[in-house]
């Protein structure tokens, strides 16, 4: 039995522009951390090789932190040193300036058991009766079917043949520029397993074929619409004629979720979610709240998000307030024992809301009330007691 760990789409150095700066850093760092966990899974399963099917960096010339970090991860790895094959994908194609180029310092820092697929005719004998064929992407877009370009099985060749390329198997009308891969390329080229990368969710595109062609997905999701991301494929290859067995193994730290709250209770419920600190939460607030409740909403959001002084409950929080509506007016939420001048202020804002002819003015005055309410909350102990 030949065991492989098949992974792809690490996207080291990826930026997350939608997120606040500190969250971006968290998410970027997490991608490099995932490599360590992948190696650990490989060790645990005693694989004979690790094949990485492209898009390992998010761009061909990532900042040094990431290639240095990856080299360090490999060098620090203390498990069995099985060969690891790094295949350039369309995000990080093999170009003379890329991190994969022979003269790039990254290459010299890699341990000897880590191989970069930097030739079109790359092959490596994994075992006396097993060979790996791989071919790199050389540009960000291309029409070549790299899988079909792998060498075909020669008559009489009984070895286990594994192909590894990066590309897209989706059948799209018209011209294919994302390195299209023919679905039966594995069969055509006489492979036993075709390891591919590109799609971030785990997917076996040839479930009924004797030659599995598998996307292992990104080890860490990159977006909220990748529900099956966060895995690697552990492949067991038996004697020829028997379909290899492909197991999905989760390696992700982060779970990306979309949460929609329609009232304050649902929002409070978010706080009770287990493992919230390992979640990237996109919170859609779809509710109408009073000035007082808005203060509560903000408090919960602060609790989830954290502050300079305290960690948030959620790992990363992205708040969508588009549908958070403030009910206009003070609506009796302010304490009675306020100084007259503050009461007057509230009354003035209430009057502005009543007299407002457009929603913008109304909302502004309501927001002002909300600000005042929050300010008063910070003076708790003063407000609420007779002065």
């Amino acid at each position: 039995v030949l065991r492989l760990l098949h992974t792809a789409d690490w996207h080291l150095g990826r930026r997350f522009p939608s997120f606040p700066e500190d969250a971006q850093k968290k998410l970027s760092r997490a991608r490099l951390d995932a490599v360590g966990r992948i190696l650990e899974v490989a060790r645990r399963h005693g694989v004979n090789a690790v094949v990485c099917a492209g898009d390992l960096f998010d761009e061909p010339t990532p900042v040094a932190d990431f290639w240095e970090g990856l080299a360090k991860t490999f060098n620090d790895y203390r498990g069995p040193q099985v060969p690891v094959f790094l295949v350039p994908g369309n995000h990080d194609p093999l170009t003379p300036e890329s991190v994969w180029a022979a003269h790039h310092p990254f290459r010299s820092r890699l341990p000897s058991w880590v191989h970069v697929v930097d030739r079109d005719d790359f092959s490596h004998e994994l075992m006396p009766d097993a060979v790996l064929y791989a071919r790199p992407c050389r540009s960000k877009a291309g029409e070549i079917d790299l899988a079909s370009a792998l060498p075909a099985r020669e008559p009489g060749d009984a070895r286990i043949r594994i192909g590894c390329v990066h590309g897209c198997t989706f059948d799209i009308e018209g011209y294919q520029t994302n390195f299209p891969i023919c679905r039966d390329a594995g069969v055509q080229r006489g492979m036993n397993y075709l390891a591919i990368g590109d799609t971030h969710s785990f997917r076996d595109v040839t479930a009924n074929s004797p030659v599995p062609t598998v996307y292992p997905g990104a080890p860490e999701p990159t977006n909220f619409d990748e529900p099956d991301a966060g895995s690697v494929a552990v492949v067991a290859l038996f004697r020829p004629g028997v379909r290899p067995r492909v197991n999905r193994e989760s390696v992700a730290f982060w779970r990306w979720i979309d949460v929609r709250c329609r009232d304050l209770n649902e929002l409070r419920g978010v706080l009770t979610k287990p493992d919230l600190e390992r979640h990237v939460v996109r919170l859609h607030l779809d509710m109408a709240v009073s000035v007082g409740e808005e203060s509560e909403v903000e408090r919960i959001l602060n609790d989830l998000q954290g502050s300079d002084a305290a960690h948030g409950r959620a790992g990363v929080l992205l708040i969508d307030r588009t549908n958070l509506r403030l009910q206009p007016g003070s609506a009796g939420v302010f304490p009675e024992n306020l100084p007259p001048v503050i009461k007057d202020t509230i009354a003035r804002l209430d009057r502005l809301i009543e007299d407002a002819t457009d929603d913008g003015e109304k909302l502004k005055a309501t927001r002002a009330l909300a600000h005042l309410f929050k300010l008063l909350k910070t003076h708790e102990g003063v407000v609420g007691q007779p002065r």
Binding site: P93, S139, A141, G142, T322, V341, K364, A368, H371
Partner: protein
């Protein structure tokens, strides 16, 4: 606000005053009528009154003179020190300066703008000058009244309120001050927090902040950053998609092109196949044709031989016929040659005679023609000579006329030149006369100069005598003045003041002394009293000594007793004044040899008068000296004038009297007249010279022309005469002879010509006849020769053709014998059979068709290559831009952009809400604080309550700070119900409270004159206490009301004295104010 310094000059009764204010309570005191209220008025005027106001006229010093000047230095906050200086009056000025250190001042405003700026600084509710509400007099407002009210109306503040202010600044200032002290702490905290949040995003003026740390800027920069990235990626994606679209299109086109290439290739192959078939079929047909031609050719050879044999026989017959024709022609030629010879012989014989006779006749005629031509030529020459002679005659006549004309011109120009010279001489004589008159004028002027110079010399002599006299008088006065050693009048005033002080001091000692001595034993006593000579007493009786100030007793050798009147202080004062008298007055008295101040005063007056006299004499002396100096050169001037007089008369060379009439005729201004006449004469001379020159030139030219015409005339006459010598008979006769000879010669010439023509005609007719006969014979001979040559040529042709045909026949026979007709027929059969078996192409293909098919293939190939290249190029571009990679990134960035956009909107809404909240809080706060009375009244009421020992419970102020009254017995009593003293006290408390809230100076001008001692004590304590918080300036004639004895200025020291850590300053205005 705090006053620092006040300087006043020539302001009403004050000549000069200078006051440096302390930081707290300033008590400015002095006796009545010293100018305290004037000083207070000067403060009001410098701060409030425009310098050009007519109201300031009352400040002009009573005795007139200078314009009033007030300069005030004050501080509004730390390092904001202002100095305002006004010189009042219509031609006055204003200047406002600012300083940070009180030393270096920068100009801030000048002239009319000073008051506007000052009112802006003070914020007392006084509008800018020139606006509505500005009337005559010092502008007023509630705060101006409260802080600077006059002594005349100390309770004015109780009758006024902010209601009457023309500008809102006073109310705003009080509101701000009261608001600050009245705000609720929670509200203040919230307000500060809100202000801080609002200030994060907005400027003071409510504009959005644009600095780097502005949340708007940050959000907008973030948005812009993402937008830029989005646009960049969108461009990449657009480019990708466009390239992908292009690739799809190119792929389709490639498919079409490949198909076209395949079709073109197929067409080419088909065409080539058909062409090959056609070519092979054509080759077979050609073989058949060749074989058939061969057979036909061999068969033709047989028939050709037969034809050639017949032709050869025909040609042999024709050869014989030609030989016979030659013979016949040769016979006809012999006959023609004989006839020609006979004709030639006849011609030679006839032409010899005719030619000889013709030549003789021609020679004769030629001779006659030559003679006629010569005669004509000679006659012609003679005619020309006659004509030339005639022309010379005419030419001589013309030259004679010209010469006569030139001579006349010479005469005329000569006369003109003479006239011009005469005119010139006349004008020169006139000029000489004018020169003489000019010299005469100069001589007369010199005479006058001498007279003037002589008068100046006489005047100088008189002045010098007066100068010496005045100088002597001045020296006498100076000697008298120097003998008077007296002090100045100012010093004398000081001495008189000292004398008064000394008299007062001595008066204080003059208490009256009565000393009684009761000896217990006989005693020698020496008594000296009041500085009188000592007296001696002895014995045992009681001695009573009465003295005014001083008694000194010398009691034998027991003791000396000295009794002096007055207290020790008074004695010390008297002693000090005595000392000053000795030091300051006695030396002057001694120097002036005066016994007392009156005598000294008389001497001072005498000295002053002497000084005046000396000054007058000195002025006269200086004036005389100046006059003398102005006449210092009169001797020289006289000498120079005399010299000029002598020179003038010598130059004139005749007595001046002889020219008196001429000079008289020159009128009142002889020089001008002379100048005018000279100018006219010079003009006339110039014109005469110009005329002389022009006429001279004309004369010279006329003479030259005359000379030239004379030479021409002489030459013409000479030529004429020479020509006429050849025609002694006269020119008309000679001309008629010549004309006749010419006619004869012409006729002879015409005759000869006619005869020669007739001769030529007859010779030509004879020659034509002979030539005709010869020509006929030659023609016949030529015809006969041609016939021979034609017959011989026909014979040669016949022989040649026969020989050729015979040769051809032989060749044909040889060829016929060499051919194999059977074999040729076999080959024809074989070729025909092969041709019949070959396929026939379904259509005909031309070479052009094949070429076109090949070209179509090349074109299709090229098109395909081009598409391939475009695909490669597009593919290369796509590899660069990224395709799916760019799309993935764009998706991320679009999401980020939407978030950033949302964030920017939220930030804006959030900060707008903070801004609105702050505005509403301030409005609410202002509304709360608008009842200023409520805020201020407790402070006044508490003090008033304490002052009046709770007689009054409260003080009621309106919202506009009007005084409603005081509460007593539960009812509000109007302030008018209070006693004058209490009203003054209430007013003072009100003013102090207001000044305290505003942290500004208040000026109290004898505010509490009606208060009793107890309440004054209370006030004194209050003022000293409050002096630590703000500045209070008190003008009073009773300093003891406000100051302890120790705080007052000691007599004879600096006018200021600071106590209570410098918070109390007493200022003795007697030393600070100089009054008229």
């Amino acid at each position: 606000m705090r006053l620092l310094r006040l300087r006043v000059m020539d302001f009403a009764a004050i000549v000069k005053a200078e006051v440096d204010f302390g930081k707290g309570l300033n008590v400015l005191y002095g006796p009545n009528d010293l100018g305290k209220s004037t000083l207070a008025e000067s403060i009001r005027s410098v701060l409030l009154l425009p310098h050009s106001s007519t109201f300031s006229e009352q400040y002009i010093p009573w005795r007139g003179g200078h314009q009033p000047i007030v300069e005030m230095t004050f501080e509004t906050e730390a390092q904001r020190i202002w100095r305002v200086k006004k010189q009042f009056g219509k031609s006055g000025s204003s200047l406002l300066q600012e300083s940070r250190n009180g030393i270096d001042f920068d100009d801030i405003a000048k002239g009319r703008s000073v008051d506007g700026k000052l009112r802006e600084i003070l914020r007392w509710g006084i509008p800018e000058p020139g606006g509505t509400g500005s009337g005559r007099g010092i502008p007023t407002s509630f705060l101006a009244t409260a802080l600077l009210s006059t002594q005349a109306d100390v309770t004015a503040v109780l009758q006024e309120s902010l209601q009457g202010d023309s500008a809102p600044s006073g109310k705003e200032r009080i509101a701000a001050a009261l608001q600050a002290v009245a705000q609720d702490p929670l509200f203040v905290s919230l307000l500060r927090a809100t202000q801080a949040r609002r200030d994060e995003a907005f400027t003071d003026k409510g504009m959005k902040k644009t600095a780097r740390d502005s949340p708007f800027r940050m959000a907008s920069e973030r948005l812009k950053e993402i937008r830029d990235e989005k646009e960049r990626l969108q461009a990449l994606v657009d480019e990708s998609e466009s390239v992908e679209e292009l690739l799809r299109e190119l792929t389709d086109r490639r498919n079409v092109a490949e198909e076209s290439l395949a079709v073109a290739g197929q067409r080419q192959v088909e065409s080539e196949r058909l062409a090959t078939q056609a070519a092979e079929l054509a080759g077979a047909a050609e073989d058949v044709r060749l074989a058939r031609d061969e057979v036909a050719r061999i068969q033709t050879l047989g028939s050709d031989v037969a034809g050639a044999e017949q032709s050869a026989a025909d040609l042999a017959a024709k050869k014989e016929q030609a030989e016979q024709a030659v013979k016949n022609a040769q016979h006809r030629k012999v006959e023609a040659d004989a006839a020609l010879q006979a004709a030639q012989d006849a011609v030679v014989s006839a032409s010899g005679d005719t030619a000889t006779s013709a030549t003789v006749a021609r020679q004769r005629l030629e001779l006659r023609r030559a003679a006629a031509e010569k005669a004509f030529s000679e006659a012609q020459q003679r005619k020309e000579a006659v004509q030339a002679a005639q022309k010379l005659v005419e030419s001589a006549a013309s030259a004679d006329r010209t010469h006569s004309t030139q001579e006349s011109e010479v005469q005329r120009t000569r006369a003109s030149v003479a006239a011009a010279i005469e005119q010139q001489q006349r004008v020169e004589q006139q000029l000489r006369t004018l020169d003489v008159l000019e010299r005469a004028l100069e001589a007369r002027g010199a005479d006058q100069q001498v007279a003037i110079a002589q008068a100046a010399v006489d005047k100088a002599t008189a002045l010098r005598t007066r100068f010496d006299s005045v100088a002597a008088e001045r020296d006498g006065l100076q000697a008298r003045r120097e003998s008077l050693k007296v002090p100045t009048a100012e010093t004398l005033t000081g001495m008189r003041r000292l004398a008064t002080d000394l008299a007062k001091a001595r008066g204080a000692l003059d208490v009256g002394l009565l000393v009684t001595i009761t000896p217990h034993r006989p005693l020698d006593i020496r008594v000296q009293k009041d500085n009188a000579p000592s007296e001696s007493e002895s014995g045992e009786q009681v001695v009573e000594i009465e003295a005014k100030t001083h008694v000194e007793l010398d009691l034998a050798d027991v003791a000396t007793v000295r009794v002096t009147g007055g207290r020790r202080d008074a004695q010390r004062t008297a002693q000090a004044l005595n000392e000053r008298w000795r030091e300051e007055v006695m030396p002057h008295l001694a120097a002036a040899s005066a016994t007392d101040l009156d005598e000294l005063d008389a001497k001072v007056r005498e000295a002053t008068e002497l000084d005046s006299s000396i000054q007058a004499k000195e002025a006269a002396r200086r004036s005389l000296k100046e006059q003398l100096e102005s006449l210092s050169g009169s001797d020289d001037a006289l000498r120079a004038a005399s010299d000029r007089q002598r020179t003038g008369h010598a130059a004139l060379g005749m007595p001046l009297d002889t020219l008196t009439d001429d000079l008289h005729r020159l009128g009142r201004d002889p020089s001008a007249t002379l100048r005018k006449q000279r100018d006219q004469a010079r003009g006339a001379l110039e014109a005469a010279r110009r005329a002389d020159s022009e006429e001279g030139t004309a004369h010279t030219l006329a003479e030259e022309r005359s000379r030239s015409s004379r030479a021409t005339l002489e030459a013409a006459i000479s030529a004429r005469d020479e020509a006429l010598q050849s025609f002694p008979e006269g020119l008309p006769i000679a001309f008629a002879d010549v004309q006749a000879a010419l006619g004869l010669a012409t006729e002879e010439q015409q005759r000869v010509t006619r005869e020669l023509a007739s001769l030529d005609s007859s010779i030509a007719a004879e020659q034509a006849r002979i030539d005709g006969a010869l020509s006929d014979a030659r023609k016949k001979a030529d015809v006969a020769r041609s016939q021979v040559e034609a017959a011989q040529e026909q014979l040669t042709n016949a022989i040649t053709k026969h020989a050729s045909e015979t040769g051809r026949l032989n060749e044909l026979r040889r060829l016929r014998d060499a051919e194999d007709l059977v074999a040729a027929e076999n080959r024809l059969r074989t070729a025909s059979e092969r041709h019949g078996t070959m396929p026939v192409p379904e259509r005909l293909v031309s070479d052009a068709d094949i070429t076109a098919a090949r070209e179509a293939v090349v074109r299709a190939n090229s098109h395909l290559d081009m598409i391939e290249r475009e695909i490669q190029k597009a593919h290369g571009a796509l590899e660069q831009v990224g395709g799916a990679v760019a799309r993935e990134r764009l998706r991320d960035v679009i999401e980020a952009y939407e978030l950033a956009e949302r964030h920017e909107r939220e930030i804006e809404a959030d900060y707008e809400a903070w801004k609105l909240l702050l505005e509403q809080m301030k409005d609410a706060d202002a509304a709360q604080a608008s009842n200023l009375g409520q805020a201020l009244a407790p402070a006044i009421a508490n003090r008033f309550e304490a002052l009046t020992a709770r007689r009054y419970e409260n003080v009621r102020l309106t919202a506009q700070l009007g005084t409603e009254g005081v509460v007593a017995g539960g009812a509000v009593r109007p302030a008018e119900c209070l006693s004058v003293g209490t009203r003054e006290q209430l007013s003072t408390l009100y003013r102090l409270s207001l000044a305290e809230y505003l942290g500004t100076t208040v000026v109290l001008d004898d505010q509490l004159v009606q208060s009793d001692e107890k309440r004054m004590d209370w006030f004194r304590a209050l003022l000293v206490d409050k002096a630590r918080n703000f500045q209070i300036v008190v003008f009073t004639c009773r300093p003891e009301d406000y100051l302890s004895q120790a705080a007052m200025v000691a007599p004879g020291t600096s006018p200021n004295r600071d106590t209570d850590d410098g918070f109390v300053r007493s200022i003795d205005l007697s030393g600070a104010v100089q009054r008229r």
